[in-house]
């Protein structure tokens, strides 16, 4: 009995530790005071300002577009990588695996810096192309991770059966492989999207002048005086993220069940 109370308290403390900062941030977006000061006075003033703030909106749009492009490219690359990798020997495969996961262990700051130096070295102009390329480099491992897990648990016999029934390799991919990995593609793409959307370091180094993303805009607004408008925009981001997560959960949920059900039946 006592033990139960203690462990519940313990969980509660961890939850508080994780979520109180975010809750405070969200709450202050509804506070009238410019300096987050008490007493709390409810107002939608900062959201109204957000609606009028074209700079922030532009940055948000850039972020979403950049993350979308990154997510889509990551999924496509990861899918090709994973499917191609299956035909390698185990030894080559494990080497490829370690190399492809490396960007995860290199700090983004260093990654951004090295990309910047590379661009300088070849005397290219900074452009959105390089920003996207940089984002793909750091986000790709996340798509790979999710897809790899799915493909490894996939039964090769299904594709062989499809071939034995007369299907060409392309048909087999379209009708057998793709439906099996589609949920993982969505999940992997979403993960890469979030990594890119959230990224500050790479964007900061590579962004051409006059363009900004949401993380960069938020950072600079702190430098030039912070308003609860940032709280408001953060709340919107959190809301949209949760919504995306829920949608992905729904898509994955039903198709995951089919997959799981199959392997249970074996």
């Amino acid at each position: 009995m006592k033990k139960g109370v203690v462990s519940k308290l313990y969980v509660l403390l961890i939850m508080l530790y994780l979520y109180v900062p975010i809750l405070v941030l969200m709450l202050m977006g509804f506070n009238k005071s410019r300096y987050n000061s008490m007493p709390f006075e409810f107002s939608l003033q900062w959201y109204q300002e957000l609606i009028g703030d074209t700079v922030l909106q532009k940055a948000a749009l850039n972020s979403v577009l950049l993350a979308l492009v990154t997510g889509v490219i990551c999924v496509i690359l990861a899918t090709f990588f994973i499917l191609g990798e299956r035909y390698l020997s185990n030894k080559t495969k494990s080497i490829f695996n370690s190399i492809s996961m490396m960007p995860m262990s290199i700090p983004w700051l260093i990654m951004g810096l090295s990309l910047l130096l590379l661009i300088r070295f070849f005397d290219f102009d900074k452009s959105m192309f390089f920003v996207a390329a940089g984002h793909v480099v750091i986000s790709l491992p996340y798509s790979l991770l999710v897809l790899k897990a799915r493909v490894q648990s996939m039964d090769r016999a299904l594709e062989e059966m499809s071939a034995s029934l007369g299907a060409s390799p392309l048909t087999t991919f379209r009708r057998i492989t793709l439906p099996a990995i589609a949920p993982a593609m969505v999940a992997g793409g979403f993960l890469s999207f979030m990594i890119s959307f959230d990224n500050f370091a790479i964007s900061y180094f590579l962004m051409p002048a006059g363009v900004s993303t949401l993380p960069i805009e938020i950072q600079s607004s702190i430098k030039f005086g912070f308003t609860p408008e940032i709280n408001a925009v953060s709340t919107v981001i959190i809301g949209v993220s949760l919504l995306c997560l829920a949608v992905v959960g729904l898509i994955m949920g039903s198709s995951l069940k089919t997959m799981v059900g199959r392997s249970e039946n074996k």
Binding site: G166, A167, T258, N265
Partner: protein
Amino acid sequence: MSKVVLKGITKKYGNNTVVNSIDLTAENGKLISILGPSGCGKTTTLRMIAGFEKPDGGEIFFDDKEVGAIPVNKRNIGMVFQSYALFPHMTVEQNVAYGLEQRKTPPSEIKERVAEALKMVHMDEYAKRKPKQLSGGQQQRVALARALVIKPDVLLLDECLSALDKKLRVEMQVELRRILEQTGVTTFFVTHDQEEAMTLSDKIVVMNAGKIEQAGTPFEIYEKPATRFTAGFLGKANFFEGKALSFENNKVQLETENGNITIPAQNAVVGQNMLYVVRPEKIRFVSEGENGIKGTVEHVTYSGNISTCTVVCSGKEIICEVQNAVSGQRPQKGQNVTLDWDSAGSIEIIGGVN
């Protein structure tokens, strides 16, 4: 509908030779069973015929055409895997229709043939279900329907009836036999069930450690096993091995490790090591006083139609089967008995003794 010929087929995984220079001919429209212990290379052989694995040596012919360069999807084979491999995201109906769709069969005909195939395996009621909603035996039947509906030239069945209960299995065997006779498709059939192999096959191939031990009709394999392995693997067997000391009146006296024993035999070379196999059902109990092998009943197992007795004759265990007829009396444990059999019941295995 193709004659299939394997010539010197070899498959290696690393240093491990899994299939070792196999020669095998499947005549057009015949059913060939492949029997052998787990891991002897049965599945690997089927996979090479299908084209999933490339042989490291040898050639495969479908009707005198070498198929090495023909990919799986152009070989017109039907296959049932050990693991069924039904497509999980498609219904039973869609699974069966898949092969016909690849052949650009008109939709109306697809519908007809799918329904027919499902009816054949008694799965017509389950057409709209997903594979995960089916039992193992039901999945197996769908897999069979999917392989048959495309009217393949060569049918490859890897333990395709193993998950069915006895009654359903016999039913499916009869059905399979009927379909095969009707369509004349050349079939390779891997099974662990000896009875199934005996009743279904035109030819049985016994494999061991990647090699063919013996190929022949079920009768030949059972009644005239060529090797000790075949004799021991298919059915129960009593082995008598030793130097022939004398041979007269169709009786051979053998010097075995359990001492000398005299058994009926049709042939023997005095002074040479001989190996005979005697099937349990060939042995009969004779009344005391008659000539025969004396022993004591050690153990009796009742299994309905027959009883299996272990009789110890001067240190050697001999297994024999008796019919549980109404009039016949069953041997009792501890009883002293005399065993005898026709000399033709002792099958000489030439080359069995090294």
